[in-house]
Symmetry: C3
Subunit: 348 residues, 3 copies
């Protein structure tokens, strides 16, 4: 992680924005405002935190045009239309410059089956396994303990962290990032009931589809995406999934949708493009959400949503005693409505 | 996945049902109605989708007796009392015919400790680990990167996918399927508080029990089943668990119960036979659910259920503005009840 | 797991408490009251279960002073102020006596990169991977298939079970326990939106922080703790996390707090000391919970809590028909309030 001294002017040369103050200012790290030191570059996305600016010890700050005066009063700055987005690009540029690249080739402890096709610039780390017929693209990185099933494929530049499972015949596109513990292509949960009552038992429906994932998709740690029953489960380009998410068989998630941690999406749900779901939200199966639908955290979607917008359904928390009284009353709510109606009738 | 051409009559010969139309029709794949081609065999479980039948390009369809006429008007068909169940059996037969069987024996990169007993027909894949005293039954398949702890046992024909952890002394029966990332036998969450107030800290209760799993159990990706504190955690025969489920220590799940993704069952809960729980449901600890209890998705079970039936408790979602108003009012619900009472009193 | 015969007096000599009855009573196992046999030692923490005492076949029981007479009427006993805590310590002592200790050293199938520093008393199991610059403390145990990233560190006596990922530069203190499938140090979920409407897509914010975990922390199976965006994610000493928990980037959890399974804590939430959260609770991002806040299972915390206490917000379950009526009415609740107001106005 060592590099030559980096100056504010170098950043502006690479990423644009307006340089204000001394471009020779040396930047040694990116830091949050509250813990910045004399080598730090910070960003201020929210004018609400403007008060922190004057006290900040940073070498430089990235601000919006509206904060220009306040920033210049403090010291060197980069003025950018969208400081948060500028900062995102800066972190990418920073990492590309600093992060050691994996060495192309296959670690001696990895197992690569005959018939797998690895691009010479791909990297396969210690104790990884690559099945027969698998295809690993140029510059792809397969981390330690990863498992790439038979006939699976990993696109150009995609990085699999540690112990990722990419099941048989499953495919992920280019420039993806898959974090540790992800399971792509486990069987979907499909059973038919055989018999009745106390004699009933479950007959497995073998899952014959696969998972197809587009380009520029990121998948968080320990998230699961099941293979389809007959057709494939589909994750379109640019989708971002956080950790510990469950995606059932034959789900389709449209491009550039993003799901926070612990979300569950049941089988055959069809999510549009540019949708989001907050942490712990659940979307039941066989539903459709159109583009630009936003689900609040912990909300359970029980029917299709055909109109863009924000949807919510979480129980407001309270101190335990208040909650207990309200929750108990909630169980009589329908009766309260009837009593209210009766009163209204008497009035008229 | 290659095989001789398969004809409709072969399927009926193997699985029963009534053959209608040309038994020599060649079937090359199983497909959903909406994407069937001239080599596809489809099933129609729900008469509601009957309208799709006439437009369907499939080589053949599996239908119920009530759809016989409509199906025959289209082309070859198999008539079965329960098309969905027929289809389930067909997928099993299809996979048994098509899927390559793992080669018996131990991959050279696997580690098998002295004292483990492997049936000669069992298969141990690359980089798996088998502890001392472990027993692997006939035809069992231990996938890559699996870990079988000391004295653990895997029954006949059970298949562990990739990187499954089966902890020390834990046992799974015959014909099971365990998907990637499952952890069986991690410590249950047990602590005693030592000290009080700001000085309190947690003393670990070592977990001395194990996990015992019956025959014909399927466990989804990244699901966790904790070992018992003193006695064992018990999963009875025929239970089906989806992905990312948490089963606490000393839980017992009765035979043929099924749980959808992201369910959590806290310690010492006792679930009956033939129960189901929808995705994200939570069952608190030390409760009992009798047989044939069905829990709706995202419902939280806070006390025992002694009567079979369907139980629910999820907050209905709404557009965000409506939800906000209703949720705010919900926090005053007990007060509303009191005001309603007061009005009622005035009336009398 | 074999050892010399153990007598009741040995336990009291080691752990204190008052010995009542024959100290030479041989103890062969620790057992729950309901399945105790003539070699079992049991504990009775809750006087409610006192009725089980007389029927219990155990060799000995651990009881509180209030149960002394009832226990002595039955047979040998240990009287302790807090039988549950006594039992916790007993399980620890029992395991220390019985459990085989891992052999120090590195298994031949493990990969240790040059520049890693392993204490000679540490143990590295089969197929583990230790990155360059990693530091493994005295007596630490690295389980099979674990991955210790570059420059990561594991404190003295800390035990990592199977396939734990400890990411680059992440640190865990002394005497920790990390269960199978845990992922420490995957990227936090951070993106900036680039473009608008149908053209928008997500720009990754590279996560430059790490995870720092204190001493005496236990982390349950398949739990994820993300690395910070700029600063580190912090888990303080004595924290206990159950299975399948999601901890977002830059969260801080104060000392001796405990979280049950399936909890989700979003980015930058700051949890105090001695807090608890029940299973499936969700804490949204950028919130603060002061010390001694207790969150009921399945509750969603949507704003900061500045006063110690118990907080709840879960929908009470009911039989499905009752729930349906109440839930439907809930969606009109705000309207009901208005109608009630109107009635009240008429009255005055």
């Amino acid at each position: 992680m060592a590099a030559e001294p980096l100056r504010l002017a170098d950043i502006v040369a690479a990423l644009g924005g307006e340089l204000c103050g001394d471009g020779q200012t040396v930047i040694t790290r990116l830091a949050p405002l509250e813990s910045a030191d004399a080598g730090s570059l910070c960003f201020l996305a929210n004018p609400r935190y403007g008060a922190q600016l004057s006290a900040c010890l940073a070498a430089g700050v990235i601000v919006s045009p509206s904060m220009r005066e306040a920033a210049l009063a403090r010291g060197p700055a980069i003025v950018a239309a969208d400081p948060y987005l500028y900062f995102a690009r800066l972190t990418q540029w920073w990492v590309a410059r600093m992060r050691r690249q994996p060495v192309p080739g296959v670690h001696s402890s990895a197992v690569v089956e005959p018939g797998a096709r690895l691009h010479p610039s791909a990297s396969v780390a210690a104790q990884a396994y690559i099945g027969a017929g698998a295809v690993i693209g140029a510059g792809a990185v397969i981390g330690s303990h990863c498992y790439i099933g038979e006939d699976a494929s990993v696109g150009e530049g995609t990085r699999l962290a540690v112990r990722v499972t990419l099941g048989e015949a499953c495919r992920i596109g280019a420039r993806g990032i898959v974090h540790s513990g992800v399971v792509i292509g486990a069987d979907g949960f499909g059973f038919a009931l055989d018999g009745q009552g106390d004699e009933a038992y479950w007959q497995k429906i073998e899952q014959l589809g696969a998972v197809r994932i587009g380009d520029d998709v990121e998948i968080g740690a320990n998230t699961c995406i099941d293979r389809g029953a007959l057709a494939d489960t589909l994750i379109d380009e640019g989708v971002k999934l956080d950790n510990l998410i469950q995606i059932g068989h034959n789900v389709r998630i449209g491009a550039h949708s993003a799901m926070a941690g612990c979300v569950g999406i049941a089988g055959s749900a069809k999510i549009g493009r540019h949708c989001t779901a907050g942490g712990g939200a659940i979307i039941l199966g066989h539903l459709e959400l159109v583009d630009h639908v936003h689900i609040t955290a912990a909300t359970v979607i029980t029917r299709s949503i055909l109109k863009p917008g924000q949807y919510s359904g979480l129980f407001p928390f309270d101190d335990n005693a208040s909650w207990e009284k309200n929750a108990a009353t909630l169980r009589q709510l329908h009766g309260l409505r009837d009593r209210l109606r009766a009163l209204e009738k008497k009035q008229t």
